[in-house]
Every structure is written in structure tokens, then in C-alpha cells.
Symmetry: C2
Subunit: 448 residues, 2 copies
């Protein structure tokens, strides 16, 4: 079954519905505020990149339980009819503040804050976490790849290893925000206005009697954009065949754009291939590399001066293999009785509706301050913006390239230690305002 606007309301943990049924039975319809944040960064991350907000807002705008959903819930025989009647009319009518897509954020900072009637705010938890956790995970990974590429292009090649169909779409989208220049996923390219990109598979080369025949046929079909995969048999011989093809096709006005290496000792092969191409008179043919690459391998390749012009990154990008999940959580921080906090061992939640302020010195970010939303603002630029009021967006969706540019700027504004692929000695400083500190101290002493 595919997930769609009409059934996604049921894409929720059962407990969101049972809790809501109980709130309903108790007549608990007052406003509550929840914040979505990450308690700790994954070990190998110095920063995170916000992504997925547009999909989250689309979900909130369209949230409804259709007849099939209600019928299924009725059949479970655990919900009272009056609650199901209420659910059939439920819409999201709350307010949302959020850190825009592409912005950098850190542990403890709310990337999303929702104020709504308790049930509306509770019932959206599962989907919001699913959506924002995954896209932020991938945008954060892509931003690291962009750092490693140091200005060279990289392309999302991940669909075959992504976790299902929606992941393939959202990985392309989030990778683009993080800095990818294209995706191999045609549907994602269409959906998000990203450039589609691709070369050829080994099967293509093997479907011809000779490698050279495969190259000639492909280049003739795509006279302006062919990247030839040259490692099916022997990579250096493949480069020679690319030169032969380019020579044979020149009179027809057909040009070879690039060659791709997908296996073997990449720095050594890239140098040998570059030499073959240059000696053949094709210094304009680019070398594209793929094959289980990630930010660490790319950095190492460039460290070794491997003459590679662009990278295709699949598995490691699409599943963020070194940190395959983001532990975002969604916590009640305030309700009609005031600011709330959870106090179980080692899992304290900072109470109250919060804003994040970022301070810069000479265009370099120095620290963030968490403060209550209604206290007099500390120095710095507020990161959370009002994106939804009464269940409607306050502004039209922004372009994906705006988010991508924001990410590029935000990463550049980080101090060098946080732009490193290696763990910074200390986390980026995130402070609490004096008022927040005193609220924390106060609630810590209160009985429960």
C-alpha cells in the first residue's frame, strides 16, 4: 500500500490515538505546546541541517481521517463511537514555529514548535518525527559530503539502497538542500525541480559484443551528454576505448562528456585515465567517480590529488550509513498549567516555549542562546520563524534552491572546527537564558 494524503493520518503510532481517545474522554481540549528537538548529535556530527519542513506543513494542512480510516479504527473495537465521530472531523488548526530548511542547528534546539489543542498537537507526533528526522539526517550528511567535495559537484545515486520509495524521494530532496547538484532519481528530479543525472550500467556495456561498440551507440543516442562507464572489463583499456570512440565520433559532431570509474584503486586509476584522455587530446572529458564513496573517502581521494571532477554517492549518502538515524523527539513543554518538564533519569526536558538566538562575530557563529519565546530577546538572530497560524501556512512554500543556499551560507558561517569532518573538541555552545535557567531550577524543586 502506498502512503497518500488520504491515508497518512493513520501513519501514526497507535498510542497517539489511544492517548487522544483518553484526552477526549476526559474533556482535555486545552492548548498545549510541543517541541521537536534532538537530545544528542550523532557522535560523528558537529552540526545538523534542518530539512523536511515543507512536507511536515503539507501534512498538517491536509490532515484528515477519511472514511476508510474511521471504519478500520471502529473495527479494532477499542475506541468509543463519540471519539471516532470527533476524529472524523478533526483538522489541524494550531500554530507552528520552525527553523527554516537548510539552517544549521544543534542538540537541544527546537527545530519545530507546535501550539494547538492537546489532541491536535499529540496526534501529529509520529509523522512529524518520521518526516523531520529523516530529511534532516540526510541533509546533514549531504552537507558533510559537500564540505569534502570542496567545490566539486556530487550527485545523489542512492535510490537502489534507500529505505523504500519515499526515502528515495526525500533523500534526493534533502541531499539537494545539503549541497548535491543533481539526483539519479527521475521522479524526485521531476517532483523537486532537481537536475536528473546518470551514466550507464555494466549491463549496458555487456550487451554489446565490444566495449567500443557500446560507447559508440550510447554517445550517438546522447550526442551532447554521454558519460561512459569504463570499468566493466579493464579501466585503462576502457579509457582508451573512450578516446577511440571520441575520435570516431568527432566527424559526426558527437562529443563525449565524461567517463565514470566505479571500482578499483580510484586515485591510481583516475591518474592513469586522465593521462590516457589528455594524451588522446581530450582534456575536456571529465572524470566521474562512484563506488561506495562517502565524505571520508572523497576527502582522502582529493588529499591524494586524484584528478576526479565529480562524484556519484549512493548508499552512504542515502542511508547516512555512519549515523543511520536521527534521534529527534517531540516533547510537551507547556500546557494550561504552565511550563512542563520530564524528569526521569538522564532525560531532562527543558520546559517552556522557546526561541533560539544565534550570535555571530565577523560573520562567524559564536554561540546560540535558548530563551523563552516571550522574554526580552537576548542578542542574536532568532532562528524559529512562524510558519503556520490556525492550521494555514503563513507564507507560500519556499524554493528548494533557497533552502540549499541557506545551508551553504550556514555551514560557511560555522567556526572551522565545526566544519571539519572530524568531531570538534567540544560541542557548539548552546546556552540557556537566565530566565530559562531559573525556570529550570524552579521546576526541578517542585513536587509532582
Amino acid at each position: 500500500m502506498w502512503v497518500t494524503d488520504d491515508n497518512v493520518a493513520l501513519l501514526t503510532d497507535l498510542y497517539e490515538l489511544t492517548m487522544s481517545a483518553s484526552y477526549f474522554a476526559e474533556g482535555m481540549h486545552d492548548e498545549a505546546t510541543f517541541e521537536l528537538f534532538v537530545r544528542h548529535l550523532p557522535e560523528s556530527r558537529n552540526f545538523l541541517v534542518s530539512a523536511g519542513l515543507d512536507d511536515a506543513l503539507h501534512y498538517l494542512e491536509h490532515l484528515h481521517f477519511d472514511g476508510d480510516a474511521i471504519a478500520y479504527l471502529r473495527g479494532l473495537d477499542i475506541f468509543r463511537p463519540d471519539f471516532l465521530e470527533y476524529l472524523a472531523t478533526l483538522r489541524f488548526t494550531g500554530d507552528v514555529w520552525a527553523i527554516p530548511e537548510g539552517e544549521v542547528f544543534f542538540a537541544g534546539e527546537p527545530m519545530l514548535r507546535i501550539t494547538a489543542r492537546l489532541i491536535e498537537a499529540q496526534i501529529v507526533e509520529t509523522f512529524l518525527l518520521n518526516c523531520l528526522n529523516f530529511q534532516s539526517l540526510i541533509a546533514s550528511k549531504a552537507a558533510r559530503v559537500a564540505i569534502a567535495c570542496d567545490g566539486r559537484r556530487f550527485v545523489d545515486f542512492s535510490p537502489r539502497r534507500d529505505h523504500g520509495a519515499d526515502a528515495a524521494m526525500k533523500a534526493a530532496r534533502a541531499s539537494y538542500i545539503g549541497g548535491a547538484s543533481a539526483t539519479s532519481n527521475v521522479l524526485a528530479a521531476r517532483a523537486y525541480g532537481i537536475a536528473p543525472s546518470g551514466t550507464m550500467a555494466h549491463a549496458y556495456v555487456m550487451s554489446f559484443d565490444r566495449e567500443l561498440d557500446a560507447f559508440l551507440a550510447f554517445a550517438r543516442t546522447f550526442p551532447e551528454r554521454s558519460t561512459l562507464l569504463i570499468d566493466t572489463y579493464d579501466t585503462v583499456e576502457g579509457a582508451r576505448n573512450a578516446v577511440r570512440a571520441a575520435d570516431l565520433l568527432a566527424p559526426e559532431g558527437v562529443k563525449i562528456q565524461g567517463v565514470r570509474l566505479d571500482s578499483g584503486d580510484l586515485p591510481e586509476l583516475a591518474r592513469a585515465v586522465r593521462e590516457v584522455l589528455d594524451e588522446g587530446g581530450y582534456s575536456d572529458i571529465q572524470i566521474f567517480a562512484s563506488g561506495d564513496l562517502d565524505e571520508y573517502r572523497i576527502a582522502a581521494l582529493l588529499q591524494e590529488d586524484a584528478p576526479i571532477d565529480a562524484f556519484g554517492i549512493g548508499t552512504q549518502l542515502g542511508v547516512s550509513a555512519d549515523a543511520p538515524a536521527l534521534g529527534g523527539i517531540y516533547k510537551l513543554v507547556e500546557d494550561k498549567s504552565g511550563p512542563k518538564m520530564k524528569r526521569s533519569t538522564a532525560k531532562v526536558t527543558i520546559p517552556g516555549r522557546k526561541q533560539v538566538y544565534r550570535c555571530y562575530q565577523d560573520a562567524v557563529a559564536t554561540h546560540d542562546t535558548l530563551a523563552l519565546h516571550d522574554e526580552s530577546p537576548p542578542p542574536g538572530v532568532p532562528l524559529l520563524q512562524k510558519v503556520m497560524e490556525g492550521g494555514r501556512r503563513t507564507t507560500p512554500p519556499e524554493s528548494l534552491s533557497a533552502a540549499r543556499e541557506r545551508c551553504s551560507r550556514a555551514v560557511k558561517s560555522l567556526p572551522p572546527a565545526f566544519r571539519s569532518l572530524h568531531p570538534a573538541p567540544d560541542p557548539f555552545p548552546v546556552r540557556c537564558s537566565a530566565r530559562l535557567e531559573s525556570l529550570l531550577a524552579e521546576l526541578n524543586q517542585a513536587p509532582h
Copy 2:
């Protein structure tokens, strides 16, 4: 954008389309055979579990490029009109053999074999890999969790950390095949006929003035099935409140089914909570544990005799965190000119259409043999079944519980070293038939 039957044809790497355009231009419409297999098991896996076949067959049955897809491709300005006309009428009309869902398989063994016209066989590569890689990854992880649980129930709690919406659906499905007894994901429960399961969140407890009030309200709303989360403030005091609630509710005929621990030192807390419940006269209240569990932590908990009756597993299951991607590949093994193999360094493909035969001794699997599909069968049970002919399923979809039972049987039939959570000293023996060996030798010597 959501992926649906109408747009999923475009969920493909661009190169599938460019290669197909070139095959089309060259008039290459002969039959070809591709096999989908995993070259190496992830380091921490002794076996894999096949999953995702039903979705793969659904995709093949419904494959079509709709008007929007063709219009988008036309707009890219890289495809010739006659190819796009052809694409608009393309359907999958090939034959498919596959290892049924729930069966155990190993590196090098085709889990799927497709024989179809070259373009039809090529163009489905990306989606088939996306689908079978992910679901097999999760079913394999779930089977390990089932081994660790040693007969106890476990529930998929992963939606908030899964990679997008489709992953949340397919993780629930594949976890069930691997042995989960339920899922927290209501939409997946509905789609696949799995039991939905859930307790309550900390926010619920915090929405009441006292923990005890929260417990009373919840149990009254669900008088026959309430599992109370007892770690919001202090776990042992939470257990005492559960006992108080059970005492107060007994006269109303309301029963508490279980309590859930989600943080802290689980073995110690579980023992303390068990004591509180037993002393209160509630030895029938079950203890449910969650909180970043995986097969290793569950095995350790049970090793320590922690009195836990069931487990909720989220992140680690839903993203298979210790091995977050399966490296399944899809390779041309035969075409009109005969068996094919790829020979680039360290990436040899075994040529020819193959079947896998599994041998047992006293109901324990001893080894598998890879053989050509048309040679006289070696000893053993053939694993690949014909599941599609001429683009139509040969049998109706099987029930998910049939796949789940197959998995349970298949895992039980493995020698103990392969059912261990720790790496077996050697891989499970997968041999090549004598005919396959000689074909390999022959092609290795052929020029290309």
C-alpha cells in the same frame, strides 16, 4: 510528492532510461536475464531473509509510464520522440523466478531472476533493488531480534525513526515476516493485517496533575488493554502508582494489562518493578521494555534474568542500525549470445540463469548449491520458484503469516553457528555445480 502506482515508473535512475533509449535506437529487443543478489553479507550477519517480493511483483504488474511521466521526459529534451512513444506503451511482460518471502538466503544466491526483453528487464532495476534491498534488510534484522527474544514477543516501534513514510510501512511488514508480533504503525497494521500495538507517551502522563490520575484515566478509557508508562518521574514509584490504580479500578472491573519501562537500568528496574507488582498481588501485570533496544541488548537483558515479558524495538530495528543498507545488485547474466559475466577487478559475476538448491541432514541445512537452471538438478530443495509468467503472477499473493512461518522454520533449520548473534567462523557453504564451475572457467578465458 507521494509515490503511487501511477508515477512509480519514474522512480528509476536516469541511466535505466538512457540505456533503454540507446537499446531502442539500436533495435536491441532480444531477451535478457538479470539476477538480483547480494555479493557479500554485512559483517554482522550470518544469513539474510528474503522480503519485498509481493511489492516487487505488484510493481511489475502495474508498470506503466503515464502522460505526466512522458511529458516530463519530453521536456528534458534528451530523448527521441519514437522512444517516448514506445515508453508510453511499455508493459512488463517477462518471467520472474524468486526465493519466496521469509526464506533464508546467502551471498551470491539470486533472490530474484528476471527474463524479459532487454529494455523491460533493464528499466525495472532501480525499483526492484530499492524494494528488495530494504525489506530483506529489515526482515533479516527482525529475525535476529526474534532469536534474541527467545520466544518472547517483540513489537515494531520504529515509525518515528524510519526513513520516510514508505519505510515505516515496509519496516512494519518486513519486521513481521522476521518475527515481530505487532506494530505501533496503525496504517501498516491496516494494510498488512498486523496487530496494532501501543502504550502511552510521557506527554500523556505529564498532561495530568498526578501520575496516578493519568493511569486511572487511561485504564478507564481502555478497560481491557492498558499498558502504563511508569518512568516519567520515578520508575519504582510509577510501579506503585500502577498498583494503586489497579486496586482502585478493580471494583469497576477495569484491569491493567502491563507496565512499560523506557529508560534507566532496565534489569535492576525490571526486578524492582516485578517485586512491587507481585507484592501488590498483580503477578499477571506484564513488564514491557523499550528504549534503544536491539538484539544484543535484549540478549544481555535476558542473560541477566531481567523479568521482561515483551519488547518494543524502534530505531535499531527500523533502520537496521548496525548494518543500515543491503548491497543487493542486479546483473546481466545471460542474453541472446549466451551466459554473461562481468570481470572488473574483484567484482566477478557468476554467469548464466541459476537455481539454488539447499541440502538438509536431519532437518538441518548443510549447504547450498548454485546450478544452471537447465542442468540436471543437484541434490537439494530448489529455492527459486516461478512467480510470474508473461508479466502476470502465477499464483495469488500469499499471506504475510505464511512468509512469517517460513522465516521461523528456515531460521530454525540453520546450524547453531548461523543462528548465533555473533559472526559464524565461516560463511554458510554455497557451492557451484560442476557445470557452473566449467562455464566460469571457460568465460574467464574468453577474450572480450
